[in-house]
């Protein structure tokens, strides 16, 4: 940015540099900004996720220097790293355990955001960037797991890439394109390696955007109310830098405990057998951090007729219509207006009737298609639900209709939230079980609650829940009750 007034060069090396390339923005991004004074330990997990990314990139780059990305050499080169390379075992265990740690930390970070309503205005974009980071992380982790070319690598890659074959017509060509052949093979391994190296740097880019968006409106806080003045704030440095470093210390103790005492606890023994395209291991499971999504994928063992999708839409249309009739908006004149206005009329009587007609029409079409006999095949339904479980997070800021951010002041929400956490854990456990019998039934129930939480519970809670009284300000909230 050009300045009208010439900038002054300040003394010292910092001044010399800052005169030529501004250093202040970088400082602002990392530690030099005011923060709410009441952040609790749940707010440590953002910075811990940052340190995880740094650990993964450093160990990853060093591992690359000894790894051989070919179907013939990959497995042996990983063993070479484990046995011959100086501290190769440490680098590899740090990288493998680090991935699990990274996901643990990020999941806690996300649940923190869910509980304290950190996704609500004006932080929707901040939330979106976070969801994008999560999706990039999942892609990166999945491709990284393929690189050792063990049995789980190979068959995990086969199963997950085959998900795309569920899409009608374009499915098979997409799978062949992903593989670069007719099965998972050398070309697949090579491209996964290239992308596994590339994507972390894309994550770094999105993390920077995440930080810029964070600092535009500042951190949310346990009360969920906005910072109103200097009494609500403290400088990030030294107060939260110290707290973050303390968090790093605790985190690294846990991390080290896994690396040195249980490095393979979170992995699968099958991955120490070299990939064999002729034999599938008897029990394929993904890494633990994918298990809830895997359970959702496998919950659908039956075809879904279209009318089953149309009925809830029709019910929704009926509910809207009932509301319109009650408020006296459902008049003949308004209906004619709604039908002859060829654009969204917006938030008024005519617009609401348009909504009734639109939802009713869409529901009716779905039911009719269903009655002709069209279904979504079980396989496609599972794939759509699994991807939908991630995509729905983008809509969360609008699905949660409550004006109150923090769960601390939402007595009903809290119950549903903790049930959501338990449900996610249950889905994770079910994902590790064989897809049969009672496990499938529970997976389906868990899937229903997962989507119900976002699509039904959150929209309705905002309308019917009576929140507790919010404190006047953050400083009042934290000094209340003290001597």
């Amino acid at each position: 940015m050009a300045h009208d007034t010439p900038r002054e060069q300040k003394p010292g090396i910092y001044g010399w540099l800052d005169y030529r390339i501004p250093l202040q923005p970088a400082q602002n991004l990392l530690y030099d900004f005011p923060a709410p004074r009441n952040l609790n330990y749940w707010w440590n997990f953002g910075s811990i996720a940052g340190i995880c990314l740094v650990v993964q990139i450093l160990t990853g780059i060093l591992l690359t220097m000894h790894y051989n990305p070919s179907a013939a050499g990959a497995f042996n080169s990983v063993e070479h790293i484990m046995r011959d390379v100086n501290y190769g075992w440490l680098l590899r265990y740090m990288h493998a355990v680090g991935a699990s740690m990274f996901f643990t930390v990020v999941f806690i970070h996300i649940f923190r955001g869910l509980y304290y309503g950190s996704y609500k205005a004006p932080r929707e974009l901040l939330w979106w960037l976070g969801v994008i980071i999560l999706i990039l992380m999942m892609a990166t982790a999945f491709m990284g797991y393929v690189l050792p070319w063990g049995q789980m690598s190979f068959w995990g890659a086969t199963v997950i890439t085959n998900l795309f074959s569920a899409f009608p017509i374009v499915g098979e060509p997409i799978v062949t394109w992903l593989w670069g052949g007719f099965s998972v093979d050398n070309p697949t391994l090579n491209r996964f390696f290239a992308l596994h190296y590339l994507l972390p740097f894309a994550i770094v880019g999105v993390v920077l955007l995440h930080l810029i968006a964070l600092h535009t409106h500042g951190s949310n806080n346990p009360t969920g109310i906005d910072v109103k003045g200097p009494k609500d704030r403290i400088p990030f440095h030294p107060y939260y830098t110290v707290k973050d470093f303390f968090g790093f210390g605790v985190f690294f103790i846990v991390f080290a405990a896994f690396i040195f005492f249980a490095p393979n606890y979170l992995g699968h023994a099958d991955n120490y057998i070299e990939a064999n395209p002729l034999v599938t291991p008897s029990h394929i499971v993904p890494e633990w951090y994918f298990l809830p999504f895997y359970a959702i994928l496998r919950a659908f063992v039956f075809n879904i007729p279209f009318w089953a999708l149309g009925l809830p839409v029709l019910a929704y249309a009926g509910w809207l219509k009932l509301k319109a009739i009650r408020s006296g908006e459902f008049t003949f004149g308004n209906i004619i207006d709604a039908m002859t206005t060829f654009k969204c009329a917006g938030d008024n009587a005519v617009g609401r009737i348009q909504k009734v007609m639109f939802a009713g029409g869409a529901g009716a079409v779905l039911v009719l298609i269903g009655l002709i006999g069209f279904v979504i095949e079980a396989k496609l339904a599972g794939v759509l639900a699994m991807f939908g479980a991630l995509i729905i997070l983008f809509f969360l800021p609008w699905l949660d209709t409550s004006k109150v951010r923090s769960g601390n002041y939402r007595p009903l929400f809290r119950w549903f939230f903790w049930l959501f956490v338990l449900n996610a854990l249950m889905l994770g456990w079910l994902g590790s079980k064989p897809a049969e019998g009672i496990y499938v039934v529970f997976s389906l129930i868990g899937t229903a609650y997962y989507f119900g939480y976002f699509l039904v519970i959150l929209p309705l809670l905002g309308k019917y829940e009576k929140p507790l009284k919010l404190p006047e300000s953050i400083s009042v909230a934290v000094t209340k009750g003290s001597h």
């Binding site: 199963v159 085959n162 002729l278 496998r298 063992v301 396989k379």
Partner: protein, 176 residues
Amino acid sequence: MSADHSVPDGERRDFIILTAQAMGALGAAAVAWPFVDSLNPSADVLAMASTEVDISAIAEGQEIKVMWRGKPVFIRHRTAADIEASKAVPLSELRDPQTDDARVQKGKEQWLIMVGVCTHLGCVPLGNMAGEYKGWFCPCHGSHYDTAGRIRKGPAPTNLLVPQYVFTSDTNVRIG
């Protein structure tokens, strides 16, 4: 002052800008295709698309696995009981209705040749009369196939794929 956009020149400028943008977009699309297509199977992968197998040593009731296009292919020498069991199933019971005849070649009904890849998510099913229908069973997500490799139970949508193949002699078969 900036340029005066009210002169007739403005229209010509819009046209030039639009044309330039359209050419740019076309150029970008033309370059994008080679990039995308470079990820499709390469010539050497396509060249290895057929395989020849000697089947003289496979006894009745036995099955072997061979590699074709990086995937296993099951070659099963079916018993008369296998074939009968398969023929006895009414088509209405099948998710992906196909007669036994449609799964094999005429006069060679004892030879069942299929790609050994579960049509659900690509695992290799277990053979040798595994599963509830004495055919194949996929351990990944629990799909059961019968003695003609047809899907009977579980999440897989279709029967095991029968590849193109010809008997080049009584003892040899070329797959692909």
